[in-house]
């Protein structure tokens, strides 16, 4: 008999460029999530923090930092790091502990205070991340642009399509009080924004932000005792790694694996991430009511839509052009506004995606509510073979 993990509460600190300590964003999000759950901080048995890493280690181990800021209670803690998938791994660790029967209620928190501009290399000489900047000048947008250009040449995606993704997500973000950018934009504005890495313009690429997000997870029994009727269920989390040989060039690498000695896997990495979650949840892409995908660039949203199986390869543009991925369409994508409206706050990102799915499945998403939302999917991918897919059901 499997123990179900359900979502008791979600909370966010609005994304922005606030310039304060990340602890404050995380604690504020945690307090909001606890309030929504209707429990006290002292009820929490397990705290998992998604680590921020750019500030060095001391005092900044997230689980411990948030637990201490909320006040030491003797609760168990864990802190994890998995680049953009950090938040999902934190959720996975908490959910698993509940499913193992080792705890009833857990708090998951991620927050970040991001630097401005390009992400700079953290390591020093000899470090692979340092070398890709030194030798190639290959910033993150360069990798995003390689994917975008290949898509354009293979599938006929146009700059207008990319702009249309931004227009769609900006409109959604304008309806979200937690988004950093809350202004609708026109295709003309996107196409007039300066080119950063051809074919991606400034408005095609997500910014770096400050923000925080938190989720209170509990066993279904605990939720029932608390009187939570029909809570949103955390049905699956996938954190699979690539399978050798990974033939898609990934940040921050200089090259792919070689497929000369071993043939590539049937499913490329991004598809495999989503596939594992579908399998665990026992559902398929046709069951999904809405999806939050990781739009580091406008073009990447189109890639993801295909990778999670909402359509075949090269068909995402058609979904977009016919309005099917917009709010009110057949399968809305990034109704939160996505990274386009939030910007990246890395350890908070996957948790923020789950906040959106939770509110949507509860029918509590206000002006951006997706009708009849029953099953939500959120996916992302980070450096070093990290990625995640999360499925919620109701």
């Amino acid at each position: 008999m499997v123990v179900d993990a359900v979502i008791l509460g979600a909370g966010m600190h609005p994304w922005g460029k606030w310039g304060r300590d990340f602890t404050e964003y995380g604690v504020r999000a945690a307090k909001d999530a606890l309030a929504e759950a209707g429990i006290a901080w002292t009820d929490v048995q397990f705290v998992v923090g998604a680590d921020t890493i750019r500030n060095g280690y001391p005092g900044l181990v997230a689980g411990s930092t948030f637990a201490q800021a909320l006040g030491w209670t003797g609760a168990r803690i864990a802190s994890c790091y998995a680049a953009c998938a950090s938040g999902a791994q934190a959720l996975d660790i908490a959910r698993t502990r509940i499913m193992a029967g080792l705890c009833d209620v857990a708090l998951v928190v991620g927050a970040d205070a991001a630097p401005k501009g390009f992400f700079k290399p953290v390591g020093g000489p000899g470090d692979p991340d340092w070398l890709r900047f030194k030798l190639l000048g290959a910033s993150n947008p360069v990798y995003f642009a390689l994917y975008a250009r290949r898509r354009m040449e293979l599938y006929g995606t146009t700059q207008d399509d990319l702009a249309a993704v931004k227009v769609k997500n900006a409109l959604a973000g304008s309806l979200n009080p937690n988004a950093r950018y809350r202004k609708a934009v026109t295709a003309e504005e996107v196409l007039a924004s300066p080119m950063v890495a051809d074919p991606l313009r400034l408005m095609d690429i997500c910014a770096t932000s400050d923000g925080g997000a938190a989720i209170v997870l509990a066993s279904r029994d605990y939720a029932r005792r608390l009187g939570a009727r029909d809570p949103v269920r955390l049905a699956a989390i996938s954190t699979v790694t690539p399978t050798f040989p990974n033939t898609v060039l990934e940040l921050p690498n200089f090259a792919t694996d070689s497929a000369a000695a071993v043939p590539p896997p049937a499913r490329p990495f991004r598809s495999a991430i989503a596939h594992a979650a579908y399998e665990e949840a026992g559902i398929g892409p046709e069951d999904v009511s809405l999806a939050e995908v990781y739009d580091l660039s406008t073009a990447l949203e189109l890639d993801w839509i295909e990778d999670i199986g909402l359509c075949g390869p090269g068909e995402a543009d058609k979904l977009l052009r016919t309005g099917q991925t917009a709010l009110g369409g057949r399968i809305p994508v990034n109704v939160s506004g996505g990274l386009a409206s939030f910007g990246e706050a890395i350890p908070a990102q996957a948790i923020a995606q789950l906040c959106e799915l939770t509110w949507q499945l509860r029918g509590a998403a206000g002006a951006r509510q997706v009708e009849h939302a029953r099953i939500g999917l959120a996916v992302n991918q980070g450096l070093f073979g990290h990625g995640s897919a999360v499925i919620t059901t109701r």
């Binding site: 190639l136 250009r149 290949r150 300066p194 033939t247 000369a260």
Partner: protein
């Protein structure tokens, strides 16, 4: 670094596992990345000097340090090139071409300058 020049020709230098023949670039020490191979002897090997463009882009703004950008800055061009024999895609800066000159599938060959390998026509 990671390449050699002989008779005016530039070759990328990777490694190859003596057990399963898997090729790596950049060169690796230690363990073969093939999960079904216990090989620990990775010998240096020269990669093919040419391949086809997998994708390409540029950097319209100067990349951050430690990159040493020219002043005044001229956008650098970057290509990911697929080597047929090794079935591997290798990133590199592109010499003397802009994104307007490139397309997916175009053949490029290797050269080098100022201590770094470059793709060119």
């Amino acid at each position: 670094m990671w390449f050699t020049v002989e008779d005016g020709l530039t070759y990328l230098v990777g490694t190859q596992c003596t057990a399963c023949r898997t090729v790596c670039f950049p060169p690796k020490t230690g363990f073969c990345p093939n999960p079904r191979c216990d090989g620990e002897q990775l010998n240096e090997t020269r990669l093919s000097r040419s391949g086809r463009v997998w994708s390409y882009t540029n950097s319209c703004y100067p990349p951050p340090e430690p990159f040493e950008a020219a002043e005044p800055y001229v956008p650098i061009t970057i290509a990911a090139v697929e080597l047929d024999r090794e079935k591997i895609v290798v990133l590199g800066r592109v010499k003397d071409l802009t994104v307007a000159d490139l397309s997916v599938g175009m053949e490029l060959e290797l050269t080098s300058e100022d201590g770094v390998w470059l793709w060119t026509r």
